[in-house]
């Protein structure tokens, strides 16, 4: 059955796409379509016109002035296979490899995963941990927005209706002498593959030579109206060895960072427990490695 749209606009350049979005207030950008087409089909979104971004490029990764820049139209498949992502941002590589199944990963884009603004978006916790910034553009100009200011609520972001995500910029990690970095992304769901996260956790720990946590970033999905940094849990662990007492303190502090709800996928109470378990597993790995 055809998807109900009145008009499909197919710009050949970013500038043309931005002009079309400015001129058509009812138009929405279409990237991989793996979320948007389902929402239109189900009648959850009525859209007069789509601006197909498929011919604009915006794919691939490159390193510039201390950042890894990833084009917004880069697919999950490409991110999962990218050696630069794997080297510097293993949580993002792992998250990209868990967005839907392989045929979804071959279409779904990084920009789409963020613009769709699901609280469960797999790439979001990884980008929060990377302290990424988004390069946004409209016909009026360009701006940069930190990932921790981008999400406003389920399905809501700071993107203006005529604004596109052009790229995501990740500051390349610097590591001191003798330090060791462990970065992970894990999610819990009813099946091993192709699940929407019930809880997800991205984590990056930098350990000093003495085994204490020199730097820690934690971010979770599916436990709040937006993906969230877990700053209370980070503070509870700062400078400590991840021993049993520190892990208990972190589990308690983590509960202040999250605000899960009961929904079709899990009760809030389960999410609180599962979030603590995922963090505890990570900290045990950090302590044991």
């Amino acid at each position: 059955m055809d998807v109900p749209i009145g008009e499909l606009l197919r710009p050949a350049s970013v500038e043309e796409a931005l002009a079309l979005l400015a001129d058509h207030p009812g138009a929405r950008p279409l990237a991989g379509g793996t979320d948007l087409v389902v929402q239109m089909r189900d009648g959850r979104r009525q859209i007069d016109a789509l601006v197909d971004l498929g011919a604009l490029g915006m794919c691939g990764t490159g390193e510039t002035d201390g950042y890894l820049e990833i084009g917004a139209a880069t697919t999950m498949e490409a991110i999962a296979l990218d050696p630069r992502v794997a080297a510097g941002f293993p949580a993002l590589a792992a998250a990209a490899a868990q967005v839907g199944a392989w045929p979804i990963q071959c279409r779904a884009t990084l920009g789409g995963n963020l613009a769709n603004a699901s609280p469960a978006a797999d790439t979001a916790p990884a980008l929060l941990v990377a302290e990424a910034e988004l390069l946004l553009a409209s016909a009026a100009g360009r701006r940069r927005v930190s990932i921790d200011r981008f999400f406003r609520g389920p399905g809501r972001t700071v993107l203006a209706p005529d604004e596109l995500i052009l790229a995501v910029r990740l500051p390349l990690p610097r590591q001191g002498d003798g330090a060791r970095t462990i970065e992970r992304f894990v999610k819990v769901g009813p099946r091993q593959e192709q699940v929407i996260a019930v809880v997800s956790l991205a984590s990056r720990a930098v350990l000093g030579a003495d085994g204490a946590i020199a730097e820690l970033r934690l971010a979770l999905g599916s436990v709040a109206p937006t993906p969230v940094r877990a700053r209370h849990a980070e503070a509870a662990l700062a400078g400590r060895r991840p021993d049993a007492a520190a892990r208990r303190a972190a589990a308690a502090a983590l509960q202040l960072d999250i605000a899960p709800i009961d929904d079709v996928r899990a009760p809030a109470r389960y999410r609180r427990i599962a979030a603590a378990v995922l963090l505890d597993r990570f900290l045990r790995e950090v302590a044991g490695g």
């Binding site: 059955m1 055809d2 998807v3 109900p4 749209i5 009145g6 008009e7 499909l8 197919r10 279409l30 991989g32 379509g33 793996t34 087409v37 389902v38 239109m40 089909r41 189900d42 789509l50 197909d52 498929g54 011919a55 498949e77 839907g100 199944a101 392989w102 045929p103 979804i104 071959c106 279409r107 091993q192 593959e193 192709q194």
Partner: protein
């Protein structure tokens, strides 16, 4: 007023084809309704079951979530285009040999994803993960994965990635 149409030109199973379709037409419907290629099936229509998987520029995609217009200027291979004349694709041969087909509804999608796995040279440890988006409610997956291992080994020696 005539309904708006968009032109879609694509290389479909090796032949250059052009269609004029409504802007909201899905690639799945272009294939089945406009091109008459009914091997590709619609299961869930939401990108979760894999029955509609085709190759878009060599990569497996769920054609229920791809607008036909997004395939304009690209290459599409459906299950009908995988074999060589009367010769089945090695994964199709292996599915027959291992009994990896029961009702057959999921089979075209499985065949296309499996063919992409064989083409990629993905090792056996990758097979189940890459096939996880193709749901089968009859056979289970044991015989399908055995067939895939056979097809992959035939093409890539030890099957290692």
């Amino acid at each position: 007023m005539a309904e708006a149409r968009v032109a879609v030109s694509l290389l479909l199973n090796g032949r250059q084809r052009t269609f004029a379709v409504p802007p909201g037409r899905r690639l799945l419907d272009l294939l089945r309704e406009d091109a008459g290629l009914t091997g590709t099936k619609e299961g869930c229509g939401a990108g979760e079951c894999g029955a509609c998987v085709v190759l878009l520029d060599g990569r497996p995609v769920t054609s229920c979530l791809v607008l036909a217009a997004s395939a304009d200027g690209h290459e599409v291979v459906t299950v009908e285009g995988l074999g060589d004349g009367d010769e089945l694709h090695p994964f199709q041969e292996a599915l027959v040999a291992h009994g990896g087909v029961q009702c057959g509804f999921c089979t075209p999608g499985l065949v296309v994803t499996g063919a992409a796995i064989v083409a990629r040279g993905a090792g056996p440890h990758e097979h189940a993960r890459r096939l996880a988006g193709n749901l089968c409610r009859c056979t289970g997956y044991v015989k399908v994965l055995e067939a895939l291992a056979t097809a992959a080994t035939g093409k890539h020696g030890d099957g290692a990635s």
